[in-house]
Symmetry: D3
Subunit: 341 residues, 6 copies
């Protein structure tokens, strides 16, 4: 069991039930979510100590967000509660077949976006930890959050933590130009960069040739080039890329590749009947970090991460509620879905 810590926003996720469109929904299902919180939950589920740093307002809705993290085993002693700002929200409408899922963010003015970088005592927060994780969403929340992210990564490296960073581009939060300008310098303190097939282009301007994400077909080989260019330009030891082939909102193919030093590894590819794909990339990060911390080999860790995130697609909510045993069983080849009695 390693001691990890993640930093980012946690939001209330309000999802229309079943396949209902927003226009017809009379209820919304509450869960809690956020790129970094999702990773913390995965790390806890896989047996690691998982602390989470965030900033939330003092009201019962935010109380519930914190309680939900505790429910899933996350250490929330590092969540700061302040007077300013609100709990960020996001609204989710699940797609099906040719109809895409739709996310409406309502996170402006959240407490973490308003919090000054000076609020965080990083040396204290990171003391005694082994791994620090954050994503491209956190610096996108605003200049203060970007500063806090830079402080955190720098302090983490100074204290000897391993660091990971999921590129996670959010077009509603900032432009591609701004993203590149802010994220680029951060990466010098990052050991593991993770991205999906679009992030490299959006955040870093690195394009995989011959790939069309809309068509749903991916030239796996092209991503080796992307990974190598990220490594060459920004210097992380490892670069992992998740590869989603969206046949439709109902059927996805899912795999990933990992450049570890000079070794390029490609994972098994799963064909998935999608229940809920939001948070799948985060569950890949969580699986990869957990497996590396457990001392699995690069190939094993990659397969663990892909299997973990394959299972996430079958579970409602952003959080990946699977055990290490379940992931290992899938890695070992049992994807038949036979009833376990």
């Amino acid at each position: 069991m390693a001691r990890t810590i993640s930093f980012g926003e946690i939001m209330m996720r309000l999802a229309a039930p079943g396949q209902q469109r927003f226009l017809q929904a009379n209820q919304l299902e509450i869960t809690y979510a956020g790129g970094e919180a999702n990773v913390a939950v995965s790390l806890a589920a896989f047996g690691h100590d998982a602390a989470f740093v965030s900033v939330l307002p003092q009201n019962p809705l935010a109380d519930a967000a914190v309680a939900s993290l505790r429910y899933y085993g996350v250490d929330t002693a590092t969540v700061l509660r302040v007077k300013e700002g609100r709990l960020g929200l996001y609204f989710l409408e699940a797609g099906a077949s040719q109809r895409a899922s739709k996310v409406i963010y309502d996170r402006a003015g959240s407490s973490i976006a308003l919090a000054p970088a000076s609020l965080y005592d990083w040396p204290k927060l990171l003391s005694g930890r082994q791994w620090f994780h954050t994503t491209g969403i956190t610096p996108a929340l605003g200049d203060q959050a970007a500063q806090a992210t830079a402080d955190a990564l720098r302090t983490a490296k100074q204290l000897g933590l391993t660091t990971s960073f999921d590129l996670n581009y959010r077009a509603k939060l900032w432009s591609r130009d701004k993203a590149r300008q802010v994220v680029g310098p951060l990466l010098k303190n990052v050991d593991l960069v993770i991205g999906n097939e679009e992030d490299a282009k959006d955040v870093l301007g690195i394009v995989a040739e011959k790939t069309n994400v809309v068509s749903g077909h991916i030239d796996h080989a092209a991503y080796e080039g992307v990974a190598r260019r990220i490594r060459d330009q920004y210097g992380p030891q490892r670069v992992a890329i998740t590869l989603r082939e969206s046949e439709s909102a109902s059927i996805n193919h899912w795999s990933a590749c990992l450049l570890d030093g000079d070794q390029f590894l490609l994972s098994r590819r799963y064909t998935i009947h999608v229940v809920d794909r939001v948070g799948a990339g985060d569950s890949f990060c969580g699986g990869l970090i957990a497996a590396l911390l457990d001392g699995q080999s690069s190939q094993e860790a990659l397969e663990f991460a892909v299997a973990a995130s394959c299972l996430k697609h079958t579970i409602p909510g952003d959080f990946n509620k699977v055990s290490k045993e379940e992931v290992l069983a899938l890695c070992a080849g049992d994807g038949s879905g036979r009833v376990v009695r």
Copy 2:
């Protein structure tokens, strides 16, 4: 934005939740539905002025039916409220895989079925409109409704409206012989005839050879012959036929063809994971009428209609709750169902 008007029955649809059979359901989900009302909702969704003519009783259930039409943007000032009769109902049990969906109609004695043809002041109702739509269900409700349908179509043509008629055969309402006898003469006042792969046979006695709807395979070419015979026998300028290949209740292939003058056009074909297929034919009509009114070319309009109705299969309820932008995005090739953030 064109001014359209549709005429027909609106019913309360009572659906068993999820995949439950009637025998096990403890709740029923209320929506409102009807072949012509569904078209009006589509027309409103695509930005047209959509009035709806119907007859309903004076009670809170019918109030809700009217309110629901208003919710989806339909102009309900032309809905007549009377003392006689009841609100028609239909019960729906959704199928899955090899198990077919089941519809139980409970519409006998509805206000529109009891209403005398003289109730409708067609010159006034149709004044200032550009397009009139109805279906084979309306004249099947009874002799008075058949008379009203004839009056409406004749008046519409006299006033210069374009008219469309979806054949929509309902075996529970009348026999094939009666249908042919009544519908045939109506078609002389119809500019656009729409039907599915079974209607032409059931209502007009025109058979597509070499096709077996139960097997789920369709010889697309055979439908050109059907369309041409409809045009030759009944004279509409355009004939559209939707082509459903039911692999199972869960997987359908969906396409359509359009005979426009002498030009025969075939659409793209979608493979659909079905959420709710009831009302899909109506959403095709709505899409086709809207696109034609928008001045799209015949091929574009056909593709728009098929894409619109493809999306309908992914949405609970008869009404098609999609925007023109969403349909055009699918026409443009994005059926990958990737999350829109």
Copy 3:
């Protein structure tokens, strides 16, 4: 209409809604279930008189279990109510895609497990019946239950009933060794043995070569050998084996074979989008028994049983809520799932 009787446990089934994991469920959906009760419900649904022998405690939860059987047409006059013991429960978490469904049994200390074999007056219970059915679960409940099962089968044969026995191995209830030791001797009083692709191995130690249930691929031919060896070793007139190929929790292929005397028959194979597969094996038994009692030929009966159980996969709950007409329609080839209006 034949007079049948089944013997076994009925439990409250508590299922997490939709695809929720146990950890996230806030509600559980109640139905009632049990290998033999499921068969009784099928027999009643197909028009036979279906009595059910069980032992239940005297409390409102058990009242509901009995009432539910009555709801589905089962004769419950033969359900014994006692002071000792509790109502058995099982918790169900439905899987999806690569994630398997999970069953947690909570049946220890149930009234039927505690009941002495002497509680049952088999000559009276079986008098006037034509068919007796039970499964390998009942003797696994304990030594008294095993004795009662032996008594029942022996008395049934003495009274001239046809008997059937579904092997149904439950690893949580007993070991393979104990199962073989107890079930073997029972089979001499059994006319029809039913099993799935794993039961023959688990309960009788008879292995189908070249088959790997986890991979999801099955060598159908190998099962002829299994069936013949069961017949040769234990003497039943008929042996039926259901063959499930689990592509994933969402997609299964489903077929069966029947050795009738010396004739080996293979059924049609269905590809199923799974809604709820629990109880499917029982619905096969129910369909087979009903069809044989109706005088269908062996091939017809096999096809009826496979079609009935194919439909079961599309229905929530263990009980198979389909009519004979619906099964015959599927046997006749209509698996297109087109809406029945």
Copy 4:
């Protein structure tokens, strides 16, 4: 355990959830209900054999109605299934405080309303029974149903059954004049007449002076006069009248009186927080009949009936789902609602 039989309509009851108005409901909760079916369920709950005679169409909705009666222990072998007509429905909107509950009947054209009087073989249906019950709703369904009611009561008396008749006036089904004209002659074959504080006036034209049902205050004494006049005019041995004082839709006071021969008895009066008051009158009938059949004294039977129907007010659905033990505990004075562990 006595053998009883009731005759009347059973409907699907579709209730808006909670305190929702029809206009805002998105779901309806299904239960089954009917004045006479409700009595049959009470009789079964109190340990009597309770057959129910009705006429229903052949469809899955009516199957569920029958199954629901079986669930609650009613013998449904005497329910006739026919091709003609539909399942009657009623829609319920629960009131609260000053807002009244609202019932919309949608029962026209039901199978029982269309059935000819000759459909029923009363000598066979009533053979071996001890008590026959029906209400003023059944003859109100139409002339054939009125004839069938007359036939049933006459045959019942000829065969020596005790008969009961709940006046149950339904203004939507017939006028007061028609009711009086039809019901009056029926009462000569009735041993026990039951009514509420309004029925006597509506059906029989007998008015309790000094009482204003809208004000919610009732002069109990005045009802002795009403009961005596019913006895004097129509000759039944017993007349029972339920007395509801509606303080609001949320708080009701509930009591009853019974004229037995010349003895006039008044019951205890309960102040009730109402959960669902529909069917309360029927539960009074069921309690009274059951208690009389059990040989309780008149005063005991009256108290049993009032206590049973008091409890009905606390249970969702028309059916009274209480046991004899629970009613006797309330009769014995425990209305404190303390938790039973």
Copy 5:
């Protein structure tokens, strides 16, 4: 039918189901609400033409807010849709007994709060209308909204409309001092001022002596003084004050008084079992305006308004979904809540 227009914010209301606390809720029930929108819905329900002026963003959540207003009959052609800002939200936790209901506003940054006063073309918006209504919430949204409110009221008076203003103090939006400073000058263009027992003090600094709202007891007479002082200080022709005596969250007493010129009128007082009290004050405004527009006398209008808002307490959601007939029935004395069949 008079032509009315209201101006204010409409929010999505997200309510925890039943009596759940925020901390335990897994779902939230969506309705739409706002002090002025609630009044518009009441006016439409009572048969008046009710337009609503507001500003909303261009997204599906706001589409649903607009559609919901249309559902309840409000004319939404005057709702402006803009790029800036978000849809305001409020979260509701319903109380019970000694536990108070809790509202969490999340409305900062809403489109209407950000909109410049110049966005509104008041002469056009108000043209042809008879009555203009707004509340103290609208100017509290910000300086631009305050300016818009002033513009609207001034223009309304210039165009000859009757104007009403509900004081509606919201402590989360502004201080008492700011409120007094802004609202005071607005009132010179107001014909009817409405407030509750706290607003006069909070907004205008006018205190009813001898009243303690926490204790739940109100000295009705003291409010005559308050009303007269409002009239004397600010000049409106009529001042109405609602008087809530909160015995607990479950039981409230509800009445109102009206100073019309020099005549002071006190209404009937209702004791209410509360289902949902949010929006009750607005339903009083809506009832009062409707009744005055219908030409009812002052006393009749006051009683109509109190009865309408009494009924609101029994209906889930802010909107008052009652008809004029239902209100008049309660005015006429029927608060017994007897079932209407």
Copy 6:
């Protein structure tokens, strides 16, 4: 913030929705509950460190029980997970008005009941704590659990903790005689004894004269005698007794008394509209312990405990989800239930 620790069973509570009876429920609502767990949740809610000692099996249902405690802030590091036994369950049917709530326990064979007394390392578990709490349920689970309870109390006193014991008699678990025999000796290590109006009699044989709990009326004075006799016989420093007057399942009056040394204190009495009264006694314990630990005076602590438990009656689930601020506001007199915005 004091460090507390409680010891007992935690069960899954499965409640029928709304006012449904078990016989009609199709779903059960999951929460987690247990006399001592409920106290731990209260202590955490009021700001204390609250550890909980229990024994649970290793399965996902028990995982959820633990997670739920974490959700509500309880420290679960002291929950032992073992292979033997099951998760205890209890089924709850909520009463209303004259119908009592019903609890069906299904806890036999739970892991804590099977656990040997030697499993617990009390010196380690209790080290550093200030307060130990348990109830009469724990020793009733079996001889080993009784031994563990004795060990815990003895060790606690040796280590200088304050100890509290809620008598909590459970007739389904043991007889009154056995209870007295086991609990009596335990009390010598108890500083604070808590009971309700029945426990003293059931567990200790001490009767309050002139009180009839079924009638709902309580002679408060009589309880002073009971408290004094408990003190005199068993020696605790403080004795608290909760006093419930059950007018019906819907309306309860609630108060308590406290004998502190020689001082006898009586609390304010609340009239409560009951939402969910299960767990109210535990919330009283939690409130009393928290207030005493906070240094409130005896009278203040008693009022705090009664107010806290008054609020519990308004919240679904056993756990009391209220804050110290909310309780203090009620103590200060605000029980008006006015909306907090």
